[in-house]
Amino acid sequence: MKKHALLLILSCALGQAVAQNVDFNKDNFKQDKDGFREAKKKLDAGDDIFAATSKKTDDSYRKKNYRNAIAPYVDAYKFNPNSAQLNYRLGVAYLFSDEKDKALPYLEKALKLNPAVDPELGFYLGRAYQVKLEWQKAVTEYRKYLATLPSGNHKTRMEVVNKSIRECLSGEKLEKKPLRVFFDNAGEQINSKYADLQPVISADETVMVFTSRRPADQEAKAKVDKEPNDDVYISYKVNGKWSTAKQLPEGINTEKNEAAMALSADGQRLIFSRDENGGNLFETVLKGNEWSKPEELGSEINTKDRESSAAYSYDGKTLFFVSDRPNGIGKGDIYFSTLDSKGNWGKAINAGPKLNTVYEEGHVFMMPDGKTLYFTSEGHSSMGGFDIFKSVLKNGQWSEPENVGYPLNTPDDDSFISLSANGRYGYIASSRNEGGKIDQDIVRVTFIGDEKPVILSAEDDLVAFAETRVAQPVAMPVIESKTPKTILVQGVVLDARTQKPLEAKVELIDNVKKEVIATVTSNSVTGKYLNALPAGKNYSVSVQKNDFLVHSQNFNLPANTAFTKIEKVVKLQPLDAGSVWALQNVFFAEGQAVLLPESMYELETLVEVLKDKKSLKAEMIGYTSEQADQLLAGSRAKAVADFLASRGINAKRLSSKATEATSTNALSQGLVELKLTGK
């Protein structure tokens, strides 16, 4: 009796499911044979793509091809929306596209129409819930799916599902404490209706180089059958607005795919990738208005496997990059290489298991504080696909990578970020699009920090005798502005006589170590120079050009200094009689005429100039205020002259004196200047 009842229930349930599911069978559409024929054609076209794509296990292949099944499937769906299989397949196709959030209703409907439509339905349903941030539903579906896997040869599949469950748990946690950011589309000067990807910006956010799949010209547009190549584009921010993006010239862009990878802080050195030899990295340098002929990075960097991302360190002496080369930890790993004394990239070293996982690491970006690395990874505590992580180098060790958080990271692939030196702004490529664009756009991210607490007021009546009110204590926590500990030194170099821009060498010097830590060149057309570097050191900037006096300036910012921008117009004086060199990086012991070691770099530069220009004589002038000790100023000037003499400069060419600072040179008090007195 019981058996019969069970059978009845089962057949009813099954009957109900079968009754709801309408297969693409001509018998089901006898009343509309023409419509069926057309719809079936579309269905078959979609099925061909789906079947071919399903055979591949490579996710990037699937992402590229499943999406092509969407259009014919959507047409077929209009005719028959009640096919369990079509719902399932359309849902899966959406899940591999940039419109993942459309997948869920189809998969839910497939489940309702026929839970047994495909053994993978549970997995993809879980994935669709994950995409929609419905974490617990996703976990439930994943677990149900796990239970369907027969024990034995499903270890890899089980690991995939378990990873997805971990992603959901991570995502649930991250979503509860969202990152406070604003997203703004970078605008129509940057973005096109095609995919615009991988933005890299200069430290001051005035230059952006990015990758675009837009057709370069009308001819290319006409080739409708051929998908346009990825090319590299550039835009400049003028008066707060991005200029219309322009394609970088031939030589950089070719018939192959090129993609922007890294831009130096000053926006004058660019690394891009080209799909040659599996994907190699090239570098080009801006000279005036012209980008140099790209040079392939050396064999330590490029291999026959794919190199897919790069980032300069603040001093340009270390390159972080991602490579698929063998013997790594995962598929794509982060490596770094340092410049050797000959200016070649040295041996590439795997960044190690703290950063690299058995999964794929995607892109790298290094902050100019010299220690904070942003990178993308499918591993660590990803909430799905690639997520952006942050790790800080301390005492030679990378910190535990920290997921930068939702909504910058999503269950989808979040695979690129480039940040301004102040850490306030970032650029990503994203499908967070308005207006129905499917492909990615470049989006500006504004980080507004942790939520600022609001302040409430309350008070108490203290005595019944009279109105004696006192305010209750106010909680006033301060959310500190977490700016990177970096300094942005920027400005223009001009010829003091003509006021025209000069191409000059701008050296940033660690005064304590007495070594040049970074060198940039001001642009010959704009005179612009820029460098971003960590705070906490006694720096000087030395601007040098042949036949001009060296300009130097000192910056000593404590280690805990928040982001600081220093802007300086440098007017280089020609090496002529009467020219004055303010020795701003020559330091004395307090109240004494004893040169401090930090002065040596500038003094040695001075020696070189005087050795080179033997016809010049130099007078050291020690400046003092009216009240100050004239004797000390004179002694300090003489100490500099004596040093120069000790380093081989003929004493007859040298003289020294003290003088009182006037209103026009009041800033020189306590300093020594060098005045060229004749040739």
Binding site: F182, V454, A458, E459, T468, V478, E480, S481
Partner: protein, 362 residues
Amino acid sequence: MIRILLFTFVCLLKIGQTVAQEVPVAPVPVVPDSAAAAKAAEIKILAEKMFQSGLVQLAQKDYRAALADLDSAIAVKPDFEQALMGRATAWLELKEVDRAITDYDKVISLNSAHAQAYFQRGRAKVLLKDKKGAAQDFTQTIATDANHYQAYYQRGGLRFEDADYKGAIDDFSAVVKINPRNGYAYHDRGSAKRQLNDLEGALADYRKAVEVNPDIAVAYVNLGSLKQGKGDWTGAIEEYSRAIERKKDYYLAYNNRGRAKFEKGDFDGALADFTKSIQLNPQYAFAFNNRAAAKYKLKDFKGAVEDCNFALQIDSGYGYAYFNRGNAKEMLRDATACQDWEKAAALHVPAAKAYLTHCQEK
């Protein structure tokens, strides 16, 4: 205040024995001559008649008529202390505090042991903000009548206002020693202890206050605030609710309960309480500012800005409202947020300074 004085006076008159104790009647001069005695009796009867009529007018709140009767009584009998006390009351009701004080002075000149005259004069001086003179009168009241707990209470209040919390505690303690059922004295002593950071002592006194007089709404507010200070937001909400039960229009209690709900994360509940507080007192800037805070948490940034605007219309020097408006404007991407933080910083809201870092950036 004047109504209280009148009420006190009338009560004292009605309770004959009490009046006899607290307001001693000046002795009638002995006239040996029988004619003179008859005349004196006649004057006494006439004065008493006018006095009684004046009392009736006082009770009927016809102060001008009362003054006319009492003037007549005093004219007939210039040393009629009760009539002088009654007239002082009428002057107070008519806000003629100086004239009331003159009558109390007269009573005291007639009877330097008239405790109630000192007490009432003290209270009149309170109205004139003459705290020092008032305190002296209350002290004199106590010197004359050591059990005059009301004088202790009033002097305790003045000491509290002068931040002499120890002195206030002594006076309130004297009150409860004389009258252990005086809930207000327990309450106010609790507040004095609170000001001296004796929070446990304050808690005990507030509890005692509501034990002896469960209707003291303010005591529940202060109990709530002490619980809130310990992080017991749930307990605080319960106490504020008790205050509201006893005083339905207690806008301060609604505001405080709203804040406690806010701290518990019940932003909708907080919003409702702040709204009620505003309804009860549309000039209460705190409630507008706090409702703005609740709206901020509920992501109604536009509403938050509007409420801060209201708060600032009421009090243009309200730094927190500038601060909160800046926070809300930031979320609306309104660049004038920086101006609000600057203003808040200038109004001594130190937290605002930290937010100015990015204001120069585009």
